[in-house]
């Protein structure tokens, strides 16, 4: 895969270059004292420029495959968090997770630490905060390398989570009390085989872990020393995720190239849906937003993400347990997304359910964002460490190609899904972590067509800031570029918690 690079440019793009999604001058909020402006240049897939008519057809999925992807979203780099490790220490990030309120971020990786950040502090400009805030708000040292960290969903309401769970390379799942910085419990039931993935069901009704021992365990986190249910796969279980809508379904991806969905009330009865088609180990499974059909996005080491759907009803209450012996529904592969590189390493994948966006890292050391509607990426951003603040890969480099050659890659991503307090439905946040320990926080907002919309948006943002005073979005309000975009009324970001 070639490393696309584009000169940083602050000029407005012409309409003919509508397919190049160059970001205008960036205001990067870095957490160190450099005055360098880090420009997040972005390159879309090399398609010929479209005409306005192609835009009109975007509603039609089939035509959307052929017409170039339109980027409704603008991304900007909001913060770069350099690694806080001592010089030369290994610091690859394996997992990043926002807590359900979106206010806290936890990361874990090879460094055997859970680092926790206050998201609002990360997004504040340097000259605004009382002293530069470099580094995490809290850090817990753990005994083994971490593959996954997950905030435990609280009891609901506005409270930020105070418990974080993690799965580690010794096969142990541990929960830590964040305030006291100590472990509250651990379970060591995977025979010492690496835990690859950990997830909690909404409301912490259940937790699941996937391991090298080819099993997924499901247990009640409120009674962690109690029993657990086991699902077996043909290979190491690399990813698990509960249906975030609350339906009793668990998606599981395995090194045997398959992803399946289980009904957790009857794990032993087999899968209720199967996704066959990946050519390599399935590294991530993430539920896509609710709709008429159940949808899941998978990632694999074959360099693709795939969207699958199967009909299974949407209502959890009406769900009937699959009868013993009933064959699992074969999910239909809706679309395959490619452009990123993933052949040997976990590169991260996350779905922003409300907006229908998929983010992933890449072995080419880029962050990729796809829109579920189109097979090619809508945004690609090179990740190399900014000058003077190298990661843990040996010599600092400002060259994406050199960083990739040194083995650097984007290894973890997470979207802020949005909390019920978030009134701004057209903005989002994405965090990406690299194999050098560097974190980057991006904010994005949906482009608007007319100035009128911008005014409404500005008012809304100001009201939100006055009322909440929590997260301060550094939106740059721009007039539309007058491309005659059709306003898409249907796609709203919904709170899916």
């Amino acid at each position: 895969m070639s490393n696309p690079s584009s000169p940083a440019s602050s000029s407005r793009s012409s309409s003919a270059a509508a397919q190049e999604h160059r970001l205008p001058e960036e205001e990067s909020q870095t957490l160190h004292h450099h005055n360098d402006q880090e420009v997040a240049s972005a390159i879309a897939a090399p398609f010929p420029p479209s005409s306005c008519e192609a835009d009109h057809q975007a509603h039609d999925d089939k035509d959307a495959e052929l017409s170039p992807p339109r980027c409704e979203w603008e991304f900007r780099l909001a913060a770069t968090v350099p690694t806080t490790a001592l010089p030369g220490a290994s610091d690859a990030i394996g997992s990043v997770d926002f807590d359900p309120t979106g206010r806290l971020l936890a990361t874990g990786g090879i460094a055997r630490k859970i680092r926790m950040y206050d998201v609002a502090s990360m997004l504040l400009p340097l000259d605004d905060s009382a002293g530069a805030r470099a580094g995490p708000a809290a850090c817990i040292c753990v005994p083994a390398k971490l593959s996954s960290v997950r905030w435990r969903p609280g009891g609901g309401g506005d409270a930020s989570s105070s418990v974080v769970g993690c799965g580690d390379y010794d096969g142990v799942v541990t929960e830590y009390d964040v305030e006291r910085g100590v472990a509250s419990w651990e379970r060591d039931e995977h025979a010492g085989r690496r835990v690859w993935s950990l997830d909690y069901a909404p409301g912490s009704a259940m937790a699941a872990s996937g391991s090298d021992d080819r099993t997924a365990h499901v247990w009640d986190p409120r009674a962690p020393s109690g029993g657990w249910a086991t699902a077996r796969a043909g290979g190491a279980v690399l990813c698990v995720e509960f249906d975030p809508s609350g339906a009793p379904h668990l998606a599981v991806g395995s090194a045997d190239r398959r992803a399946v969905v289980y009904d957790v009330r009857a794990l032993g009865r087999g899968a209720v849906a199967r996704m066959d088609g990946h050519a390599r180990a399935v590294t991530y499974v993430r539920w896509a937003g609710p709709g008429p059909a159940r949808r899941v996005v998978t990632s694999a080491a074959d360099g693709t993400h795939r969207l699958w759907e199967w009909s299974g009803g949407a209502s959890a209450a009406a769900e009937v347990v699959v009868e013993a012996g009933a064959a699992a529904a074969a999910a239909r592969e809706v679309r395959s997304y490619s452009g990123h590189a993933s052949a040997r390493s976990f590169v991260g994948m996350g779905v922003w359910r409300g907006a229908g966006l998929v983010a992933s890292g890449s072995e080419s050391n880029h962050v990729f964002v796809y829109d579920l509607r189109w097979a090619k990426p809508i945004w690609v951003h090179p990740f190399f460490a900014s000058h003077g603040h190298g990661g843990a890969h040996g010599p600092v480099t400002t060259d994406a190609a050199a960083a990739a050659a040194a083995g650097g890659f984007v290894s973890a991503v997470a979207w802020r899904q949005g909390s019920h307090n978030d009134g701004d439905l057209d903005g989002g946040a994405l965090v990406a972590g690299g194999s050098d320990g560097v974190l980057k926080v991006f904010t994005c907002r949906r482009r608007r067509e007319t100035a009128g919309d911008d005014v409404i948006k500005k008012t809304r943002v100001q009201q939100q800031q006055q009322q909440k005073g929590q997260l301060k979005y550094m939106f740059r309000l721009k007039l539309s570029e007058g491309r005659g975009e059709i306003k898409k009324g249907g796609q709203k970001m919904r709170d899916c918690d």
């Binding site: 490790a85 030369g88 220490a89 290994s90 085989r193 690496r194 390493s345 650097g408």
Partner: protein, 443 residues
């Protein structure tokens, strides 16, 4: 060429001199100045120049420092001392400066700790992420993580290089021991000291506070202490009369007093009061003690069989560990979840967690009774058929990038159950087109 064969005396059989165990790896020093290591190798702690696990003892064939007298494991790193060169070597996970090289890089082959060159070292102790060395003169140098004062320097600043503990000026330290984040010492006068993380009472000072400087433990029944060992969050000490005392965390019974209560000051182990204890070792959450008659006792966490008594139940009182022919044991070493023992007959046994190959018998299963390590034992192949490192010559410094040993997708070609191809934690189950781990050689 002369056709007469000169009478060549048989060289004495090679035997194990001492063993040590880390979080998931093990090492042995053999006669003839040979070092072996096995178990988890992901962070370079085995010293073979790569990041591979080893399921059987493997010789560090590229390491030729003369006169090695000790090799000590930390959690994810290893140290060795060459008496001939007066040189300490270290390798493995480097975070917090625990290797003493002045940085936090991981090291994959033994490298000299230059700051300690020329010092006559009596003993080295390694904790999770800090290390200490006692010189023949009784002075102590410490380096590594110091967030809880475990280096005894009066601060909480990590130290990438060894520093002398000034607080021991005028005191002659006899022996030192390091736990997860705490340190203990006994002096030639028989006094016991503790410093660092102390929240389970593991410093023996009667409270649950950390200490940034060495503090003397109040005399226990007037006894003089001669030995000290640290588990993860507990401490064990032996008096000159052979009595054993334990203090600190006991959630898993690792103090051995018949209950699961923490102790904030040294508490005598009544169950062994009729034995003279000659050697002790602290594991993650278990403890081992050796009597002068060669009997081995264990207690504490036993989930993986690391106590070695044939079951997997935690024990809060000492239980004797039995060996074939009731042979006497001369040394015991506890890792995090496994245990090694060396017998007077020069057999080496291992038990406990085996998933990373740390038991050294070629398997990855847990064992709850002692199993002979054939390659190292006189009742086995007697060190005659040892595997060797096949890595690059040790003159070159090798570095395996984190991308080569972390977050690698396991192979989808799953071995059938029973096949011994699964090594370690699947770390080296490479995807087919990338069989060779890329290594960078730095000068």
């Amino acid at each position: 060429m002369d056709s007469v064969m000169a009478a060549v005396p048989d060289s004495p059989p090679q035997t194990v001199v001492l063993v040590s165990a880390g979080a998931s790896h093990s090492v042995a020093l053999l006669t003839g100045n040979v070092l072996c290591s096995w178990g988890r190798g992901e962070d370079g702690q085995l010293g073979h120049g790569d990041a591979e696990d080893r399921l059987v003892p493997t010789v560090l064939s590229g390491f030729d420092a003369p006169g090695i007298t000790s090799v000590i494991c930390g959690a994810d790193h290893t140290t060795a001392y060459s008496e001939d060169e007066l040189q300490v070597y270290s390798w493995g996970w480097g975070d917090f400066g625990r290797l003493g090289h002045g940085n936090s890089s991981d090291v994959f082959t033994p490298q000299p700790v230059k700051a300690l060159q020329g010092l006559k070292i009596k003993q080295i102790a390694c904790g999770d992420s800090h290390c200490l060395a006692v010189t023949m003169a009784g002075q102590v140098q410490s380096w590594g993580r110091n967030q809880n004062g475990q280096l005894g320097l009066g601060t909480t600043e990590d130290s990438l290089l060894p520093q002398k503990i000034q607080a021991f000026e005028g005191v002659c330290v006899k022996m030192i021991a390091a736990g997860a984040e705490h340190t203990a010492a006994v002096t030639e006068d028989g006094d016991l000291y503790g410093w660092g993380w102390g929240r389970y009472g593991n410093l023996g000072l009667g409270d649950r506070n950390d200490r940034l400087l060495p503090e003397k433990v109040s005399s226990v029944e007037g006894e003089k202490m001669v030995l000290v060992a640290c588990g993860w969050r507990h401490t064990i000490t032996v008096s000159d009369s052979g009595n054993l005392y334990t203090y600190g965390w006991s959630k898993y019974g690792q103090l051995g007093h018949g209950d699961f209560e923490d102790h904030l000051v040294p508490h005598k182990l009544e169950a062994l009061k009729d034995s003279t204890i000659s050697q002790i070792s602290g594991g993650w959450r278990h403890t081992m003690a050796l009597t002068s008659e060669g009997k081995l006792y264990g207690w504490g966490w036993n989930k993986f069989g690391q106590v070695g008594v044939g079951n997997n139940d935690d024990h809060c009182s000492p239980v004797q560990v039995h060996f074939p022919e009731d042979q006497k044991i001369s040394q015991v070493a506890c890792g995090w979840r496994h245990t090694l023992a060396l017998s007077e007959k020069k057999n080496v046994f291992s038990w406990g967690r085996g998933t990373s190959g740390q038991l050294g018998n070629g398997e990855i299963v847990d064992r709850n009774t002692p199993v002979l390590i054939d390659a190292l034992s006189t009742d086995g192949s007697g060190c005659k058929k040892l595997e060797s490192s096949t890595a690059a010559p040790f003159a070159a410094k090798v570095w395996v990038s984190p991308s080569e040993r972390y977050a690698i997708v396991p192979d989808e070609n799953v071995p059938k159950a029973g096949e011994g191809t699964a090594r370690g934690n699947g770390a080296d189950a490479n995807v087919p087109e990338n069989d060779v781990k890329r290594m960078r050689v730095q000068s």
